[in-house]
Symmetry: C2
Subunit: 248 residues, 2 copies
């Protein structure tokens, strides 16, 4: 039951620097609630009576589909808001990966605040846009990236989002199974791909045997392997056509 990986997140910057204080105003008076590892915040299909703000910890957002398979559509970290862009019922379940702290606000109050507060609307809107953009990126990842590209994309985004720039230590709060369900792979494939990247010298482990803490040895190489073509966008046109062909 107890999660053996109740990692402490050092290196974590304040996410969502813009407008965060504006959002915090909404939740500042709400009491904090504590969630143990594995504890559910809400279930898919529940009446969407509340909007939540994550104060601390990491949660997974997922759906269970017919064969009992789980699809994780995202992870939530400190500063994230969940429950905004839906009507009536939650489209997914949310549960704590690490011991977490959240605040809640009744949807009625939330809607009222958004309706009355001119300054709040653009902040909320920006969040919804980010969510939409993330969903688009995920669709691209799932429809056309290889296992290695998926994992590299995940690590690069995690590095950017959850550590200070320049930091190359990633302390993953989620299990390999979480990552697999997020990337549309199996746990074995995730494991093998991590090993492969380690063998290539792109990443390593802080503590042999403790494979949740990853050190990125070659961040540039990792970025190249995401398949996003972030690199060399300034190539001359005739070279662009000669890019490596992409399997599917």
């Amino acid at each position: 039951m107890a999660n053996p990986y109740n990692t402490v997140h050092t290196h974590k910057p304040t996410p969502h620097a813009n407008g965060a204080s504006c959002l915090d105003r909404l939740f500042v008076k709400q009491p904090v609630e504590h969630l143990a590892s594995g504890q559910s915040l809400f279930f898919e299909g529940d009446d969407a009576k509340h909007v939540f703000q994550v104060v601390e910890g990491t949660l997974r957002v997922f759906r269970i589909i017919s064969g009992g398979r789980r699809v994780i559509t995202g992870f939530l970290d400190a500063g994230d808001i969940v429950g905004v862009s839906l009507r009536g019922r939650y489209l997914y379940s949310a549960e704590a990966i690490t011991p977490s702290v959240v605040k809640r606000l009744a949807r009625r109050q939330f809607d009222a605040a958004v309706a009355s507060d001119e300054g709040l609307r653009p902040v909320i809107f920006a969040r919804v846009c980010d969510e939409m953009a993330a969903a688009q990126d995920q669709m691209v990842l799932l429809s056309s990236k290889s296992a290695e590209e998926r994992l590299c994309t995940f690590l690069v985004k995690y590095l950017r989002r959850n550590t200070v720039p320049g930091c190359t230590i990633i302390e993953l709060p989620m299990t390999r199974l979480d990552i697999a369900d997020y990337l549309g792979l199996t746990i074995e494939t995730v494991s093998r791909t991590v090993t492969k990247l380690a063998n290539k010298g792109i990443l390593g482990f802080e503590n042999p045997g403790l494979r949740h803490t990853i050190r990125i040895e070659r961040p540039g190489m990792l970025a190249q392997l995401t398949g996003d073509g972030d690199d060399h966008e300034d190539l001359p046109g005739d070279l662009l056509a000669l890019r490596e062909p992409r399997r599917h």
Copy 2:
């Protein structure tokens, strides 16, 4: 260059019945613009200066990723709005599949209307929520459905969305390649899967050789093959655990 499949959409119901008139008010005074097949409405990365309403026709919304691969994230039909949930720049390109008619509204005007019109906000919000829900469904499809399940899901949704209830004729405006890029498959796999469904007697072709017009012979069977478990959601709990295992 010219699209040989400038199909006429018979059987098409009015989509988005709720609040459509409310949205139409925004665009009613705007002049119509015509797009030929294959013509672009805007490109990924363009300044998002306008919001568009599709009046007639079908468009594809897509991104080009590094290896030259194209990922279609959605199709737009009459009544759809595009360009709402983004900031600054379009996240994707949009181009006409069939000859299409659209109206445009400057973002400034759009934003002003949303800010001032209390009644408009929930309608817009509902659209964004639908978009988000569709993105979630697509992530589920891409991360854990087989080729057959993907195609069946596509056909069922298309049937529900673009024909009157009970109608079993689907006139697909998009090519097999469009479908492949939407479902995260290759054109060959789509083709093979269509053939397989035809051999099973689940669907047939109105005109031999003209394979864009599909007749669904067994709608119930098609729905079962989507892998959504829409069926038997009322099973007793102990049976739920015994559902057929799902490959991945």
